[in-house]
Structures are given as C-alpha cells and as structure tokens.
C-alpha cells in the first residue's frame, strides 16, 4: 500500500489527468475498505482545499477546521455511496458545503473576521484582498461556496450546480451578480486609494 500511495503522489503533472484519476479512484476504493493509508493520502491531498472552502463559507477559522474535519469523517464513512462519474473532489465539496451550511444554521449570529492587510502585500493586492473580504461578507454562504469553487478551484458550472444543489442557470446568474458586485466595490476602493 505504501508503494501504491508513493506512486500516486508522483503522478500529477507527469502521468496526466486520466492516470491520476484512475490512481485516485483506486485509492478511494481502498479507503472505502477502511485502509488508513489510503485515507491519509486523500487527507493530505485535499485537506488544504477543503479547509479553504470551509473558511470562505463560514468566515471563521475555528469553525472552518471543525467543519472540515466533520466533512472528511462524513466522506470517509460514506465512501460506499461514492460514484465515480461525479469526481471525488466534487463529491467531497458537496459534503463540505452541506456540512458548512449545517454549521452556519446552528450558529447565530455569524461571526465576521476582518483582517488587516499583511505588511508584505502590494497595495493593489491588499486592496483586492480587503474588497474580497467585504464581498464575501455580503454574499450568502452558497454563493460564497460557488464563487470559491469557480474562481479558485476552477470547477465547471455544472459541477458547482451539483455541489450547491441549484440549477446551472442559477449558478451562472448568481456568480455574474457576485462578479458585478465585486467590480463595483473594487472600483470604489481603487478610486478612494487614488484620492488618498
């Protein structure tokens, strides 16, 4: 098993997407049988992305970690219901979004964490980061999830629709509105920065 995992880790970029997918599916099958090495490999591969998605949806680091852990536990326990065509990451994202929405429903009121820009950031980057924070605070949790899945993870609209559980047209229109809103905020922020 250790050799198998090591082979899988060497694949991305060299073996192509299909070989990686086949390797991933084999690992998922092993994890479904309760192989801890296979679970560890999946964890190391997707931990960061799931944590980022949870952080963007919940806007709280502590809750995001809890939600990410719960998502992985749910995913590993439900691996027998995983079907290949959806893709493991898309399937995992769906579980993560549902778990985060459950967490958000339980928590009242939402805690917002606004961070100051890092000292090393360039000015434009700092502005865009602050504007993104402001934008994320204005969006609903499913739209935040859709935005991250599209703009950061590069998922297709159909995959996002499956993850979030809304029609593809709704995903398109909501993302279009979110981008338009970001544009307004960003232009305002840039003008203000020029004035200062």
């Amino acid at each position: 098993m250790a050799a198998h995992v090591a082979t899988c880790e060497g694949l991305p970029g060299a073996g192509g997407a299909q070989q990686t997918d086949a390797c991933e599916l084999a690992t998922v099958a092993r994890a479904a049988r309760g192989d801890p090495e296979a679970c560890s490999w999946l964890l190391s591969r997707y931990r960061g992305r799931v944590l980022r998605l949870a952080t963007m949806i919940l806007r709280s680091a502590d809750e995001a970690e809890d939600a990410a852990q719960e998502s992985f536990i749910r995913a590993f326990r439900g691996l027998s219901s995983f079907r290949g065509p959806l893709g493991f990451y898309t399937w995992l994202c769906r579980i993560t979004v549902r778990t985060c929405l459950d967490h958000q429903r339980k928590r009242r009121p939402p805690r917002l964490e606004v961070r100051a820009p890092h000292a090393g950031d360039a000015e434009d980057a700092a502005v865009s980061r602050l504007v993104v924070q402001a934008l994320l605070d204005q969006l609903s949790a499913p739209v935040r999830a859709a935005l991250v899945l599209r703009e950061v993870d590069g998922l297709e609209y159909q995959e996002i629709a499956r993850v979030v559980g809304v029609p593809v047209g709704t995903v398109r229109s909501r993302l279009h509105s979110a981008r338009a809103r970001f544009r307004e905020l960003y232009l305002d922020a840039m003008q203000e920065a020029d004035r200062v």
């Binding site: 679970c39 931990r47 970690e65 990410a68 992985f72 980057a125």
Partner: protein, 181 residues
Amino acid sequence: MSELPDVLEAETLVALREGLRRMPVPEPSPDFDARVLRGALRPAPWPVRAIAAARAVAVSGACAAVLTGFALHWFAALPQPGSADLGRSASFPGSQRASVDLDLLLTNPTGVRSGLLGSLPERDQGGGVSRGNGASDRPGNTSSGPTSPQSLVGPMRGHRALRVADARSTAFGVQSAPHIA
C-alpha cells in the same frame, strides 16, 4: 473605446481571483489527520448500526408489500375465463364496445355472449332466425335458452357459417341444440 470595458472587466476578474487566493487560510492543527482518521475508522456504536439494519429491513419489507399489493390488485382485476364480463368495460362506450365484442368473439367464439351480439339475429331450435332478446319471429317458438356456437358464429362469419350449421343439422339429424352453455 469599446475594448475598455472588457479590459476593465478582465482586470477586476483577475483581482477577484487574486484576492480569493490570497485570502488567509488557517493552518490545520497538528492532530487534524489523527482526529479525522480516529472518527472515520472507528466503528459506529451498536445502536446506530442496529437502526441502520432495521431501516434496511423496513424499507425492503415496505417495497415487497407494495409490489405484492399491486400484483394482487392486478390479478383480481383480470376477468375470469368464460366470464360474461370478459371484454366488457364501462370505459368502452357504444361502437367501441361492439368492436371489442367482435374481436373477442372471433378469438373465442364459445365463451362470449354479450353486447352487440344480444341484438344480432340467432338461429333457434327450429332453424328459424330469432332475435337476440329471445323473441322469435316464428310463432310458437319461445326458445330463450343458451346460444349455440353456430348462432354466435353465424352473424359474424356470414352466410358460410349458417350454411355449415344447416348442413350439419340436416346430415346428422341434430338441431343446433343448446348443448353449449
């Protein structure tokens, strides 16, 4: 000039992506993986497993009951062989019902006596033609017994069937007796 909005839109899209990627993501705690593995690989407690098993059994039983109910209902709705109701249905009005009767008669001439046939002429015991309602056109003949197969087939197959029936009656001295119910 028309390219300016596109450029601006592309710029803001890049800024949006950069901003999202630069958003701080918390470092997972050192025991993140261990806690996940402990939670995922630990067998579920026995009440959870019992509920899951009971639910599977209940769902299977419900499906089986529904299928059995459908099957029984379907068998009960089937007409019995030789039943007078064979092919009769309230959903076939008028001419449609007559068509159904004709079809059934052609496929099973001895088992059907219904609908349109009741109004067709039939042969009585004396060889005459009587009305389907039992009123003979010959005086003295009040036969209203069961219908012979010849008299059922006669109207449907035309004169040929009538001639066959007459020939049999003459040759064997047997009248088209009501021997078939």
